[in-house]
């Protein structure tokens, strides 16, 4: 034994002297590993080879540098508590090697142009806007970058401090997921902190228990959420994907034994699936609205009957109504329910040029309310028609929207229809492109309110949900899966449109199956094979 060890040492030096190339993996020739000690030897070898990274995973020399890919996934989650009434501030935390990358796709600092990639300074708070992938403003946020290793998880961490309402937080989180982050598992930040050596040993054992308990709980709750219709939908989609995969894969692995694939049928199926996923996502949207509701800002010139409209709608005397223009000076809230969705109505000060200090502040607030709302109701008076002031106001609103590149749907309400019953919108010089809908109302009689509610649901895409129909809730995790599925199916569609070879279709189909199967996590290859063998008569 000693002799062999001696030889090992000898060899080691010899090698290093003879071939300078060997400094690349000196561990392989570690004298210790040459001592043959039965089984442990093998493992030592393989682990040295593993860490030596030279012998195991060979690189494709032709592929060259594969760019800046790294990291075991970047995770995101809302880390402040949800659901317990609106808090002032909520936090979405990103952690992982791509955290800055993902954040820069969501966060636009106020100071610089959006075009420049965001290069944060660690532990330096920045103010800016959170945008979704289409560039719509979702919230105003503070970004707190904490770069590795000076962070909780010892990875790059970016925290986005948003407004505390559930809607804001969920939107920002969703934007992060769309930008490439993955929803964190329960306790995953702590897990990463631990695995990266951040927490001490006494905490560690508790974490082990905690996390396994949480994973079980999460799995349970995930399964519980998978009851009924939604579960059937996801399972159905997954099954369809597997079947399509089997159709394609069977022809790849057993080419000459099967008839050619009819791609038009395939495309139809994929379109149907895409539609199903989209519908499920709409439902997810609806579910969130069920919880957090819509904000609707009523704007317009002074004295067109905004406050009357609010009162009529909410069947209350919430807002003070007088004949005097500019009565409403602050934003007045009222709550109604539209098709089960909680709606917050915001009555705003009439927007006009004014010297009155208080009214001026009120006008500013009106504009802010309009900016933050889900739907804007632009109110005009039927008796006055489409005035120059209305036009100016609209231009102003559009300017604001332009600057944030955020298009809140606007509904035109022609109020006081009782004063000019014969009036129709054609009489106004209305650019129909601006308004998604128009409704004639009479705040005094309550006429047109029902139509207005319908219009609101329509512009928010909520009308397609049958009122008594699907009642399942889609949680954030399920929503993430659906998003991934939809993206994969979209890419698949474009692969087909570009007439890429069928092998490329399977890449995205597999991804869709993976996304849909996240919860059950079964081995796809085996499933596809089983499907192939049960479906096709294969084998020579």
């Amino acid at each position: 034994m000693a002799l062999r060890a001696l030889l090992g040492l000898h060899l080691h030096h010899l090698l290093l002297r003879r071939n300078p190339k060997f400094h690349k993996f000196p561990n392989l020739f570690n004298p210790k590993s040459l001592i043959p000690r039965s089984r442990t030897l093998i493992s030592r070898f393989s682990s040295t080879v593993c860490s030596g990274k030279n012998l195991i995973l060979t690189k494709d020399e032709r592929a060259g540098t594969s760019g800046t890919v790294e990291g075991s996934g970047t995770i995101a989650a809302i880390v402040t508590s949800l659901g317990g009434g609106p808090a002032a501030v909520g936090i979405v935390r990103l952690s992982g090697p791509m955290a800055v990358d993902v954040a820069s796709r969501v966060f636009r600092p106020a100071k610089r142009n959006g075009e420049v990639p965001w290069r944060p300074r660690s532990h330096f708070v920045e103010y800016g806007l959170a945008l979704d992938l289409e560039g719509n403003v979702i919230d105003e946020v503070l970004a707190v970058p904490m770069l590795a290793p000076r962070s909780y998880t010892r990875e790059d961490v970016v925290e986005l401090q948003c407004h505390g309402s559930d809607v804001c937080l969920r939107r920002v989180l969703r934007a992060c997921l769309e930008a490439g982050a993955r929803l964190a598992e329960p306790g995953e930040f702590t897990l990463r902190a631990f695995l990266n050596g951040r927490l001490d040993l006494s905490q560690a054992e508790n974490i082990g228990r905690l996390i396994s308990a949480k994973s079980v709980a999460a799995a349970d709750s995930a399964l519980a959420g998978m009851q009924g219709g939604f579960s059937a939908l996801v399972k159905g989609l997954r099954k369809q994907c597997i079947e399509l995969l089997a159709e394609i894969e069977a022809r790849l692995d057993f080419e000459d034994e099967l008839p050619a694939l009819d791609s038009s049928i395939l495309i139809d199926k994929i379109n149907l699936m895409w539609y199903d996923v989209q519908q499920a996502l709409d439902t997810a949207n609806y579910d969130k609205l069920l919880q957090s509701g819509l904000q609707i800002a009523i704007v317009g010139r002074p004295n067109v009957g905004k406050s009357s409209l609010l009162n009529a709608w909410s069947k209350s005397d919430r807002a003070i109504v007088t004949e005097i223009a500019g009565t409403t000076r602050d934003v007045v809230e009222a709550h109604v329910t539209v098709q089960g969705i909680p709606v917050t109505l915001l009555d705003t000060a009439g927007i006009r040029e004014t010297d009155d200090l208080v009214e001026k502040i009120g006008v500013q607030r009106s504009e802010a309310a309009a900016m933050g709302a889900d739907v804007i109701i632009m109110t005009i008076s039927a008796s006055d028609g489409w005035t120059e002031d209305d036009k100016k106001l609209m231009e102003h609103l559009q300017m604001n929207q332009m600057s944030t590149s955020f298009a809140t749907p606007i509904i035109l309400v022609i109020n006081k229809i009782d004063c000019a019953p014969s009036i129709t919108e054609e009489l106004f010089e209305v650019d129909t492109g601006i308004f998604k809908k128009h409704v004639c109302t009479c705040a005094v009689t309550g006429q047109g309110i029902v139509e207005l509610e319908k219009a609101i649901l329509e512009v928010r895409g909520l009308d397609s949900i049958p009122a008594g129909g699907r009642r399942w809730t889609v949680n954030q995790r399920q929503c993430e899966q659906l998003l991934r599925t939809r993206e994969a199916l979209s890419r698949l569609k474009s692969s087909i449109c570009e007439e890429l070879p069928s092998d490329f279709w399977t890449i995205d189909l597999r991804e869709a199956v993976l996304a849909l199967g996240e919860i059950s996590g079964v081995d796809i290859s085996e499933e596809v094979l089983s499907s192939i063998f049960s479906k096709f008569c294969i084998g020579k």
Binding site: T40, I42, S43, F45, L57, G197, I532, G539
Partner: protein
């Protein structure tokens, strides 16, 4: 127990005799190591290996004389390969080429590299394996290129990753050519023997094998490639006999020995169809299947690209009569009659399986393939059956074209012992016995290509083990070979395993066109790629790189090329567009550039294809690469071999059992073990980190304590104290 000198003792004796300073017997293996790692050119290899034999012989003499010449000459090698099939040949060749003195033991030297079933090499996924073995310096691709009867590229329009080459081969020529290579390879010795026992020494290390006729062969590495021979039994109808293949005796006794050593064995079944006399088949009504006009090659070595005349295959179909005959006689088949239980492969069902399981299908395709240029035998592809021989001819005659055929060999099924491969680590060395390797059908695979791939890995590792070099593991993500072995050792497979493209998660990256750029550098590093091959490889890569740069820089405006590209792709072509972006457009291939004088005549067809694939699918390839990189970062974390999974109470019970059984080498492998959930993996990661922390904590405490002891010693020992004072 026979009296046998332990090699260690023998070694010590030899050392004592030969040299007082450095033991002489270690010289050859030291050189052997050196050459391995420096990957010296072939000529140098020879010189080392021929010299390495000398001390070995001296050692043998010493050992024998120590025993007093009772047992005659002791036969000592670096590596012993048991079995001369497709796994055994690759293993023996790789090992010998690495300079290890290698002995190939086979039951019958005339059956080396025999193709007992399909006379073909390649096909989807299998061809990728062949290309990979060739890229690593293996033999199967070259022999198939040399002995083809017909070649076709399958899946031509379905994407570069699933494109597959298949060759019909001349069965006899194939075996003969491989035998020639085996016989002419230095360091490689062939011997007929039936191995019945593995010789195991202290510390569960393999020492050699013992043959039926009582001879011991010694080597520190033994590769078992027993194929279908271990306790093989063939069936025709109800009749059965012990045999590895029709007409060849099975190998008896080894299974029991392996079981005695603590290995788990199980039984698998496979089958082969009848062979008919070509002269009795009427081809006039049958659909011919011709080979490709432009022949493609398995080997990356252009020296083996020699075109030859091709032969034709024919297509026929089952008829109503076929189906009726089978349905009427189902009870006569082993599976439906119920007297054979071993599982057959799903992708290779017998004709009765097809007819029973797919009742609504009125007809099944049957291929007639020639078995050689000079033999009348036709292989009836897709028509394997368990029916008794008396019904087989009648069954064949229900096929159009075969109405008057004569049968040369009946179809039969074969049952054999295999060892579920979770008993091997991914180097293909068994976990129980150091130096013992399994490869090929013994691990539960089917197919020549799967066998060859494992053979190469086992051969390389057996040679490396003999000289104390670290073993090589090909990661799953690196190749089909890696995927194959990872599946074998990780999943609990209970049916014969065939490679399929759908088994690889990243097949877009594991193409046949890039098998060389993925693996040839490794082959070079290991020492299987000689200077000539290496130069060829490097110049090919340089051509491809240059061409890609040229296509990027050359721009065209308008003209015929633009017009044709617009026509082909249905997309407009901008002014001053690079050739690269033209090649990216749908339906535009490199030959369009050639046609308009924008191609590069210096490139070979293969090189052009590589350039085209790299450019055309760049986006997809990059996306897959980044996904793969993420997986690599996450999953390639090694797991200590001595983990006590049963003590990890946060793991589910099933995970604890399965992980203890499979003993995965990495986190990724652990996650692929059946019954291990993502939550288990998280729990496992936590346990690992906790263990690590505890260990480093203990180390810290220990060093503190020893420091304290040192200080105490220092104080209590006057000598040391004075010494310390002096040194100050």
């Amino acid at each position: 127990m026979r009296l046998r000198l332990r090699p260690m003792a023998a070694a010590a004796a030899a050392a004592a005799v030969a040299s007082p300073i450095i033991p002489s017997f270690l010289h050859p293996s030291r050189r052997f190591c050196l050459r391995l790692s420096l990957s010296m050119p072939r000529s140098t290899q020879r010189c080392f290996s021929s010299r390495s034999c000398v001390p070995c012989r001296r050692l043998t003499t010493v050992a024998a004389s120590a025993k007093g010449d009772i047992e005659g000459v002791e036969e000592r090698f670096d590596v012993i390969v048991v079995g001369g099939g497709h796994a055994g040949c690759e293993a023996a060749l790789a090992s010998a080429r690495l300079g290890a003195r290698t002995l190939l033991l086979t039951l019958n030297i005339d059956r080396i590299a025999w193709q007992p079933c399909n006379p073909a090499v390649g096909g989807p996924a299998k061809s990728q394996l062949v290309h990979e073995v060739d890229a690593l310096g293996g033999e199967i691709g070259k022999i198939a290129d040399r002995c083809y009867l017909q070649k076709r590229v399958l899946n031509l329009s379905k994407g570069p990753a699933v494109r597959a080459l298949r060759a019909q081969t001349d069965k006899r020529e194939y075996a003969m050519e491989m035998k020639k290579v085996v016989e002419s390879t230095p360091n490689l010795f062939v011997r007929e023997a039936m191995v019945t026992e593995i010789l195991v020494g202290n510390n569960d290390k393999v020492e050699g094998v013992h043959s039926f006729f009582g001879v011991d062969f010694y080597a520190p590495s033994v590769v078992l490639t027993t194929g279908t021979f271990m306790s093989g039994k063939i069936w025709v109808g109800r009749a059965s006999m012990a045999a590895g293949r029709a007409g060849e005796s099975a190998s008896q006794g080894l299974t029991e020995n392996l079981q005695y050593l603590g290995f788990e064995t199980d039984r698998l079944k496979t089958g082969t169809p009848a062979r008919v006399d070509r002269r009795t088949v009427d081809f006039s009504g049958l659909e011919p299947q011709h080979g490709d006009e432009q022949v493609s090659w398995f080997s990356f070595d252009p020296d083996f690209h020699i075109e030859r005349e091709q032969m034709c295959c024919y297509l026929t179909r089952t008829t109503k009569d076929t189906h009726k005959l089978i349905k009427d006689n189902l009870h006569e088949t082993p599976t439906y009659g119920g007297w054979v239980e071993a599982k057959g492969p799903r992708y290779c069902p017998s004709i009765e399986d097809k007819i029973v399981r797919f009742q609504d299908k009125e007809s099944h395709q049957i291929f007639l393939e020639p078995e050689g240029r000079n033999v009348p035998e036709l292989y009836v592809q897709g028509f394997s059956t368990g029916l008794p021989e008396r019904l087989q001819l009648a069954l064949l005659r229900t096929l159009p074209g075969l109405e008057n055929c004569l049968m040369l060999r009946p179809a039969y099924a074969v049952e054999y012992d295999y060892l579920p491969a979770h008993q091997c680590s991914r180097s293909l060395m068994t976990k129980k016995i150091e130096g013992l390797f399994f490869s090929g059908q013994i691990n539960g695979t089917t197919g020549y290509e799967e066998a060859a791939a494992q053979g190469l890995v086992a051969g390389v590792n057996a040679a490396r083990h003999s000289c104390g070099s670290p073993l090589i593991v090909l990661e799953r993500e690196s190749s089909y070979i890696g995927t194959l072995i990872d599946d074998l050792v990780t999943k609990d497979l209970r049916e014969p395993y065939r490679m399929l493209t759908s088994r690889s998660e990243h097949r877009l990256l594991l193409r046949s066109d890039n098998a060389d750029s993925r693996l040839t550098p490794l082959g070079r590093e290991v020492g299987l790629i000689d200077d000539r091959r290496w130069d060829l490889y490097q110049s090919k890569q340089a051509h491809i790189l240059e061409e890609k740069q040229r296509l990027k820089s050359v721009r065209v405006s308008g003209g015929d090329l633009a017009a044709e590209v617009t026509l082909l792709s249905g997309q407009p072509v901008k002014d001053s567009v690079s050739l690269e972006s033209i090649l990216k457009k749908p339906h535009v291939q490199y030959n369009v550039l050639d046609k308009h004088g924008y191609g590069n005549n210096l490139l070979t067809r293969m090189e052009k294809e590589c350039v085209e694939i790299d450019i055309k699918y760049e986006g997809f390839i990059l996306r897959q690469q980044s996904q793969l990189q993420q997986i690599v970062n996450q999953q390639h974390r090694p797991l200590p071999d001595d983990l006590d999974y049963y003590s990890m109470t946060t793991l589910s019970l099933e995970a604890r059992e399965k992980l203890s059984k499979v003993r995965p080498q990495t986190i990724g492998q652990a996650s692929r073990v059946g019954g291990v959930s993502p939550a288990d993996i998280t729990a496992l990661l936590i346990c690992l980190e906790t263990n690590r922390r505890k260990a480093s904590e203990r180390k810290r405490l220990k060093s503190q304590r020893s420091f304290i002891t040192d200080v105490n010693d220092l104080n209590s020992s006057p000598v040391l104290t004075s010494h310390a004072v002096n040194s100050n």
